[in-house]
Assembly symmetry: C2
Homo-oligomer: 272 residues x 2
């Protein structure tokens, strides 16, 4: 295994353990289990890894980024739980497991999402005002507003509006992941700016690659709007590579950007 | 108008203006309006008033309690929006106005609730880690857990379980309102303890009086469990008065408890 893969494996295992210790104050036990159920998905943990990588890129310890990393994954999981509800995408399965609402009903599904969002801020509180502000912004005017743009989008949405939608819906939290890792390592304003550019580019590259991977279903004209529909498959691939290049360039000013570069490459080279 | 009524009117008007300036960063404009719609209900603003009163009881300025007060009302409003959704209580009207989901659909209703919860923490962030922790706890292991207990309660719930349910569902946020006002005024540990006891007693008195006011509908045996059903009407009234007494006693150690006493009396003497 190369050193990046070793790093990912070690950090992921460390985050998994800590993540399943969150929500400890929720009672009764059935609610606590219901909150932890969508946290134990075997997901990529992309946002917390990005946060920890940004912190380490500035010479910070992984421990310094732990609370922001956990809070980011809690917010991401909250968004998945609410997205899967019948009133949104109505998905009964995620990564091959039944979704929480398909087991315990829609009311419990909504409450579990609400609980995970509250827990994110409980976990993050000790990290200070700047981190809380960062996450709250990425969640509300970022992700939730992006969801609103998504559910109200018309099929003839142009590429500019589609970019705005994805910058909010998925980009804001990915950008916040990079920034919060930087804040945890006491980034200078210039370093934070570099991480913002990196996060913005990685967020877009992530969505462009998602659309490339979903290109088959994108041929359905009644399906949701996508970059492949707006730009075509080849132009979407090129744009993803251009965003990857922008991300890599941005972080060259940081002391140790190698893992951030590898994570950015992963977003464009992954096949799922 | 007596001095308490004058104080309530002045503080309420001041809070109303500030409350309708929240959610300013949400775009598009339709989403920002949708978020502000349930904030403009003409509600009692009981939680923010309690917070400001607790701060002033310790000699703090109302301004010192503004951010916690706004955050508390944002969380309260989030809970009303999610409670009214079809998958929960399915209410199309609240205080005579159509609920947000009955106008814009369930998906927008859920997103508006999510947005208000995120905004609460954005507003509160500058007030510091202790305040964020306090609100996050009252929201998650408090209110959301209380909602879970409520939707999973059986009709034969006993009075102890009913008390636990209401201490979580409505009590935790009312208790946090008193405590957060105290924290804003740099309360000593003893003063914070007094405000906790006060908030706990007022929260229970509030719910007991709600059940007294709803006593007619409580005669419906298929309706939700209530203190009147468990204890009878007279015992519920007596218990509310006992909690009022406990609240009033607790705050006698504070420099200027008069408005807290008046707010506690209001919870038991109100007729709606």
């Amino acid at each position: 295994m190369d050193s990046f893969s070793t790093w990912v494996k070690a950090r992921r295992e460390w985050l998994e353990v800590a993540l399943l210790e969150t929500c400890a104050e929720f009672e009764p036990e059935e609610l606590r289990s219901a909150c932890r159920y969508p946290l134990a998905t075997g997901g990529k943990r992309f946002r917390p890894l990005l946060c920890v990588a940004a912190c380490e890129a500035l010479g910070g310890t992984p421990e310094a980024a732990l609370l922001p990393a956990l809070a980011l994954e809690l917010v991401h999981t909250f968004s998945l739980v609410h997205d899967d509800l019948p009133c949104m995408d109505d998905d009964n399965y995620r990564r091959g497991r039944p979704t929480i609402h398909s087991i315990h009903g829609e009311a419990v599904g909504m409450l579990v999402g609400d609980a995970l969002l509250a827990e994110a801020f409980a976990v993050l509180a000790p990290a200070g005002a700047q981190q809380v502000r960062e996450l709250a912004w990425a969640t509300g005017p970022g992700m939730v507003a992006g969801q609103y743009l998504d559910i109200t989008a018309t099929p003839d949405i142009g590429v500019a509006a589609l970019e705005r939608l994805h910058r909010a819906k998925t980009g804001a939290l990915i950008r916040a992941s990079a920034r919060m890792g930087g804040i945890a390592a006491n980034a200078t304003p210039e370093q934070l700016e570099a991480l913002s550019t990196y996060g913005d580019a990685v967020g877009l590259a992530f969505q462009l690659q998602d659309d490339v991977l979903d290109a088959d279903q994108d041929r359905d004209p009644t399906g949701p709007p996508s970059f492949v529909k707006c730009l075509g498959l080849e132009a979407t691939r090129s744009r993803a590579l251009a965003e990857l290049e922008r991300a890599i360039q941005a972080v060259q000013v940081l002391p140790d950007p190698s893992r951030l570069v590898s994570l950015a490459r992963f977003t464009v080279e992954r096949s799922g």
